[in-house]
């Protein structure tokens, strides 16, 4: 790794960790209802009055869950309707037609669940209204939902002998009003100051400084390639003299997309686009925004359980997985492609001349380090935005984002959902480790019994089930294989990546796979729904069951969960479960691809 690279990663981590405590403290105050800000307070009470919600009435886990499911369903339906009816609605300067039903379904599930998988290109498919009222609104609400889920889970751990987990509506309003909106507002203004656009104007057309000439296969009316008698495609010359420049309300969507671990870009190339991510500063801040809330929530957790060490242990467990993988990705990318070395091309970094390494698919503005930090951050969390093309990474560094998702999106993970997923892993760790100290397992004084184990097993089981089965179906069917653009091992990796991303509600794409087909849209949508809710339901069930229990006072015989040893164990369990589940699948994809590359060209 270059000195510059080291500096950037250190700077990134230092700023991130410095922000954890203040933001975490603030969020704990928000959710515990201890914040006194007159203006926001008025808006909050007004919202409750408007919606007819009585903020003091508590919900048990089933009511909390029903409220969440109903609310998400409503959001999904509105988004679906917006996409289907956009041609007849205002703010559609480019007159985009209705989105196809399968794509609209996929997009609706995707944004309502914080996945933000995009099987479409934003600038050529969606109207401004769909982007603003549909996507951006869901960006806020799906993030607030994830945080509400976590808060309910924490209450389950903290409260004793009660069935109440709080009020879903209150948690939603507070999360949105006090946390997401203020942060996004500030962040989008900063982005605008750096050149991120924010307008409702029609697309602009600009003349090219240099015209572009190229040949392209001629298509018939049905869109098929016309071939001559020798079965060779008939080519036609094309001359391009002008370029269409898409416009739109970008800054407002980018801020929440990064902060709320959403990741759905306004434009197709996401944050590689200069209007989404124009300067080194925006790039740094957008990367920071990816990890900000998930990291700070660890501290919020610590505050709410009255032992901030518990939160730090979780945060550092996440960092200890994240940082080495990021460094690994940078090193592998920096060392370049052996096939090129074999040709005598130097891939060493030369200051001011060449960044060296594997630069395929990367924005030259960002280079290897910033691409790699972004790639790992976006997949460690369930963000899924990209500023580089992951498909072009070296096989082994492409494995990193893939595997980070396959860990179940618990290393940071989605806002709220990631930490609650990590809490499930903690329950598993405590279960095994707790037995080794000669006690039946407990976490924060709550006994882990068959019911909790059953629910925890569900959540751990369901993700690999969906990922593996759907990938297996896709690789042996024509509808699945036809979308692959790189045949062979890499094509398999693309499909595995797609379903890993969908099921884990990440939303990033390995690219190279044409995902806008009915097969991928519909199965992908189903994977998204199972991935989100089949995990949320048992999680809330555990919260409900834990809240009913008494807390056992801790003593010398209790397994301490705020120590370095526990941190190591937790990392061990997350990695071993992730490795054991996906190792064979990865071995046949990125691993063998890298090994073959080495065998062929030498390392």
């Amino acid at each position: 790794m270059t000195a510059n690279g080291t500096f950037q990663i250190v700077l990134y981590l230092v700023v991130l960790i410095a922000l954890v405590k203040p933001l975490g403290w603030y969020m704990a105050r928000v959710y515990e209802g201890k914040l006194r800000t007159p203006i926001l307070r008025h808006i909050e009470t007004f919202t409750y009055r408007l919606a007819g919600v009585s903020p003091d009435s508590e919900m048990n886990w089933k009511r909390y869950l029903s409220a969440m499911l109903l609310f998400n369903l409503l959001g999904m339906m509105i988004l679906y309707a917006l996409a289907r009816l956009q041609l007849h609605l205002p703010f559609n300067p480019q007159h985009f037609s209705a989105v196809a039903p399968d794509l609209a379904f996929n997009t609706a599930t995707s944004f309502a669940t914080n996945t933000n998988w995009q099987a479409y290109a934003g600038e050529s498919t969606l109207s401004y209204l769909t982007q603003m009222l549909g996507l951006t609104v869901q960006n806020f609400l799906s993030a607030a939902t994830g945080m509400a889920l976590l808060i309910a889970m924490i209450r389950g751990l903290v409260r004793q002998e009660t069935t109440n987990l709080g009020n879903f509506w209150v948690d939603m309003v507070r999360g949105t009003l006090y946390v997401l909106i203020p942060l996004s507002l500030i962040f989008s203004l900063v982005l605008v100051s750096q050149g991120v656009i924010q307008n409702l104007a029609p697309y602009k057309t600009a003349s090219l400084i240099a015209t572009v000439k190229y040949e392209q296969a001629k298509l018939d009316d049905a869109g098929q390639v016309i071939k001559d008698s020798h079965d060779v495609p008939v080519m036609e010359a094309k001359v391009v003299t002008e370029q269409v420049i898409p416009m739109g309300p970008v800054a407002s969507q980018i801020a929440i997309k990064q902060l709320g671990t959403n990741g759905g870009g306004f434009f197709n190339v996401n944050s590689a686009h200069p209007f989404e991510n124009p300067t080194p500063l925006t790039n740094f801040l957008e990367m920071l925004a990816i990890l900000l809330i998930p990291a700070a929530l660890c501290y919020t957790f610590g505050m709410m359980v009255r032992d901030t060490k518990q939160g730090w242990v979780i945060l550092f467990a996440m960092l200890f997985i994240y940082v080495p993988l990021t460094i690994g990705t940078i090193s592998i990318e920096q060392s370049g492609n052996p096939a090129l070395s074999k040709l005598g091309i130097s891939q060493a970094a030369m200051p001011n001349i060449s960044p060296g390494g594997n630069m395929e698919g990367k924005e030259t503005r960002f280079g290897i380090v910033n691409s790699a930090i972004w790639a790992t951050a976006t997949t460690a969390t369930s963000n899924g935005s990209v500023n580089t093309m992951l498909d072009s990474f070296m096989p082994l560094s492409g494995l990193v984002p893939l595997w980070l998702m396959q860990l179940g999106e618990v290393v940071f993970g989605g806002v709220g959902s990631g930490l609650s997923g990590m809490l499930i892993f903690i329950i598993l760790t405590v279960f095994i480790a707790g037995l080794m100290v000669g006690r039946t397992p407990e976490y924060l004084g709550k006994k882990i019994e068959p019911y909790e184990m059953k629910m925890a097993s569900f959540t751990v089981l369901i993700m690999p089930l969906v990922v593996l089965v759907m990938t297996a179906v896709a690789v042996v069917t024509h509808v699945g294989i036809n979308s692959i653009s790189n045949p062979g091992t890499h094509g398999y990796s693309e499909i595995l990546y797609a379903f890993s991303s969908l099921t884990n509600n990440n939303g990033s794409a390995f690219a190279g796979l044409n995902a806008n087909t009915p097969f991928y849209n519909i199965w992908g949508g189903i994977a998204i729904l199972i991935g989100r809710y089949w995990y949320a339901i048992p999680t809330l069930a555990i919260a409900g069951s834990l809240a009913r229990k008494k807390a056992i006072p801790s003593g010398a015989g209790t397994l301490p969960t705020n120590t370095f040893l526990f941190l190591v164990l937790l990392i061990g369990v997350v990695i071993v479960v992730g490795a054991l589940t996906f190792f064979p699948a990865l071995a046949l994809g990125p691993i063998v691809e890298q090994l073959t590359l080495w065998n062929q060209y030498g390392s």
Binding site: L428, F431, I432, A433, L435, M436, V437, G438, R439, T440, P441, I448, E449, P450, M453, A456, S457, F458, V460, L461, P464, L465, L468, V469, T471, A472, V475, V476, G488, T489, Y492, I552, P553, G555, A556, G557, T558, L559, P560, T563, L565, V568, L569, G572, V576, A579, L580, T581, F582, F583, P584, A585, A587, L588, I591, V592, L595, T596, W598, N599
Partner: protein
């Protein structure tokens, strides 16, 4: 610690023989289905057996020899797991057979009414119902559990307790319970039967020892759920590999699709068979260790809860102290010689048959060489203790000696026209504050001095409490003494807290209060008035010598009737849980190495590049897969002793225990299979079987 619990050696030829036969008998589906992990292996074995038969007809997906070797070892894996369980059961079975003999052919003398003199008829003991009245005379075997309602008898309970010294059973009071299968040696009892056939203590014991009615305990159930989930995950991993392999084969056009046999082998290696195969053996062995400690656990849950206990409630008398107060010192009043005081004290106590009285005589002899004398030779009359005077003593010609509580003596002196010296009052206060009981001795109207009576704390108990503290267990001493005395003894014995002036209601209230704070409470008790507290406690150890009510309220019965055994029980509980955790960790950690053995081998034909992952340099793909399967089976056998004996428990904090166990079973579990699989591979190569 393990040495404290004496038992038979783990490897006993007779038990091994029975266990070997049983491990084949247990191969039936209805038996295997009880254990989800092993049932999945069972299905896998049947599948590969079918594939082997298919290969014999020349249509095999892999060489017949290879499929045969894999199939054979899969069955061995199942048999090994069955063997572990059979071994654990074996030790109990032998014991149960002996017990069963004492239940057979007993005839009961069923009385027609509640009187000993009523007529009786002889009926088989198995026909007795609760509420029947029976007569048991010298030489009879008690036909069923019951309560003595008339008479007194000495009973030999060795059939149950293993203790040959007879015990007294009598109607009324705390020693009225009799147990079926015990033998009356002298005198007689009229007994009201309290248990229906099949529900007696002996029946329970046989069931427990044999493990026939063993139900999964909550923690065992939770672990089974986790293991079943892991098994499902690995099943999926292996099943989907087939699709991935088909894709790779078509995409590259190299080699062949992975065979079902290899996938089954991979699945069995990955599934947590080590812990899955040993889980029930661990549970049975835990119960067995209780039995070795002469404790009958009436539910497996109690054994498990014992590991969780964080408060022990102990009665002072008999548990913390030796039982009775003893005289430890003579403190003469001003101007009185020690010898004079001792002489008077001895005279006042010669006829006093209470343990306190006897200890005064002994102390006088030890300190002043005063020999015992016969009261009637001295012409003395003994004045016994009464509730009114609260004094005892002796009247000799010309001498009136009294001993009693300071208050009582003061009143007595007042009547005799004497004064109670201030210095003696100070002495009395000091003794009381130090936890002793002061007895003031007076002759005539003059106070001679004070005898200090003290509770003697059991030797070594302080160290045990210190160990318990390190384990995170708090001890609370319960006593009827006043707070001052209680505090002194508590300090001497090193208990964490005490409850003084305690009534049975106080004890119950204390347990409830502790439980409300989330504590898990263990206590021991024997009397009927202990029953409510025993029923409330999470782990309740009833003394076998105790009343029927106490035994029914408890969930553990100590046949030795030693309340200190609670400590041992906690250790056994912890050991059981630790063994489960250790083997689960070991089992899961094992999987990493198996991937390195099997994955490169399974896809060697399509992806030769994967051989870079064959870091153990195993000879051939076949021998790699076979070695992993063999290791997976053999490790179960290798761990049987650990499962039966349990992980050794040390008295250290949870943090240190965890560190040690993570190191041994986590890291060890990671490394062991790399070594083991390599060695087996070398052996296979040596035997020339690597190219099946």
């Amino acid at each position: 610690m393990a040495a404290r619990i004496q038992g038979q050696p783990i490897w006993d030829a007779a038990i091994i023989k029975t266990a070997m036969i049983d491990s084949f008998k247990k191969l039936t589906p209805h038996y295997q289905i009880r254990n989800p992990v092993m049932f999945a292996v069972y299905i896998g074995s049947i599948l590969t057996s079918c594939l082997f038969i298919q290969s014999l007809f020349g249509k095999g997906e892999a060489p017949a020899g290879f499929i045969f070797a894999i199939t054979l070892w899969l069955w061995f894996t199942l048999i090994f797991a069955n063997f572990a369980e059979a071994m654990a059961e074996g030790r109990g079975k032998a014991q149960a057979n002996t017990l069963r003999k004492s239940r057979l052919d007993i005839l009961a003398k069923k009385l027609s009414s509640h009187s000993r003199d009523a007529k009786y008829q002889l009926i088989p003991a198995t026909k007795l119902r609760a509420g029947d009245i029976v007569l048991v005379e010298a030489g009879d075997v008690v036909p069923s559990d019951g309560e003595a309602i008339e008479g007194i008898a000495s009973v030999n309970e060795s059939a149950i307790t293993g203790e040959s010294a007879p015990v007294i059973r009598e109607s009324g009071g705390d020693r009225s319970a009799v147990t079926g299968g015990t033998e009356v040696i002298s005198d007689w009892l009229v007994v009201r039967v309290t248990a229906n056939p099949g529900e007696t203590f002996l029946d329970h014991m046989i069931e427990l020892i044999e493990g026939t009615k063993r139900q999964k305990t909550p923690n065992e159930l939770a672990l089974t759920i986790l293991l079943a989930a892991l098994t499902m995950v690995f099943l999926l991993v292996c099943a989907t590999l087939l699709a991935f392999s088909i894709y790779s084969y078509h995409a590259l056009g190299l080699g062949s699709v992975v065979s079902i046999t290899v996938l089954v082998a991979l699945f069995v290696c990955l599934a947590p068979t080590t812990i899955g195969g040993l889980l029930s053996a661990i549970g049975i062995a835990g119960m067995d260790r209780m039995i070795q400690a002469n404790v009958i656990a009436l539910s497996g849950r109690a054994v498990e809860s014992a590991g969780d206990v964080n408060v022990l409630i102990l009665d002072k008398t008999g548990t913390v102290t030796l039982g009775n107060r003893q005289a430890t010192e003579f403190i003469p009043a001003e101007g009185v010689k020690g010898e004079t005081l001792a002489d008077a004290a001895q005279l006042a106590s010669l006829a006093d048959e209470t343990p306190e009285g006897r200890s005064i005589v002994i102390l006088a002899k030890e300190n002043f060489h005063l020999r015992g004398r016969e009261l009637h030779e001295l012409g003395a009359t003994f004045i016994p203790f009464t509730a009114q005077t609260r004094m005892s003593g002796a009247n000799l010609p010309g001498r009136q000696i009294r001993k009693g509580a300071a208050q009582a003596i003061e009143i007595y002196l007042h009547q005799m026209g004497g004064v109670f010296p201030a210095s003696v009052r100070t002495t009395v206060d000091i003794i009381a504050r130090q936890g002793g009981t002061p007895l003031v001795v007076a002759e005539g109207n003059k106070v001679l001095g004070v005898i200090c009576l003290k509770d003697i704390v059991k030797g070594g108990i302080r160290e045990r409490f210190a160990e318990l503290r390190q384990m995170g267990i708090k001890t609370i001493m319960v006593t009827g003494d006043n707070p001052l005395t209680a505090a002194a003894i508590a300090a001497e014995a090193g208990v964490d807290d005490f409850l003084a002036n305690a009534t049975p209601e106080d004890k119950l209230a204390l347990i409830r209060r502790l439980q409300a704070q989330g504590h898990l409470v263990a206590m021991a008790g024997d009397g009927t008035n202990d029953a409510p507290a025993l029923a409330q406690a999470d782990v309740a150890l009833a003394m076998n010598t105790g009343t029927q009510a106490a035994k029914e309220a408890g969930n553990l019965v100590d046949l030795d009737s030693n309340p200190t055994k609670l400590i041992e029980i906690v250790e056994i509980g912890k050991q059981l849980l630790m063994t489960r955790g250790a083997l689960t960790t070991f089992s899961i950690a094992n999987d990493i190495a198996k991937y390195f053995a099997i994955i490169p081998a399974a896809f060697a034909s399509t992806y030769p590049a994967l051989n870079a992952m064959n870091i153990m340099h195993l000879t051939t793909p076949q021998s790699a897969i076979l070695s992993a399967v063999i290791f997976n089976g053999l490790i179960i056998v290798a761990l049987i002793p650990l499962a039966l004996r349990g992980v050794t428990y040390r008295h250290v904090s949870a943090e240190i225990l965890l560190r040690t166990h993570v190191f041994i079973y986590g890291l060890g579990g990671l490394i062991a299979p790399f070594v083991g699989i390599k060695l087996i591979d070398l052996l296979i190569r040596f035997l020339g079987l690597a190219y099946l």
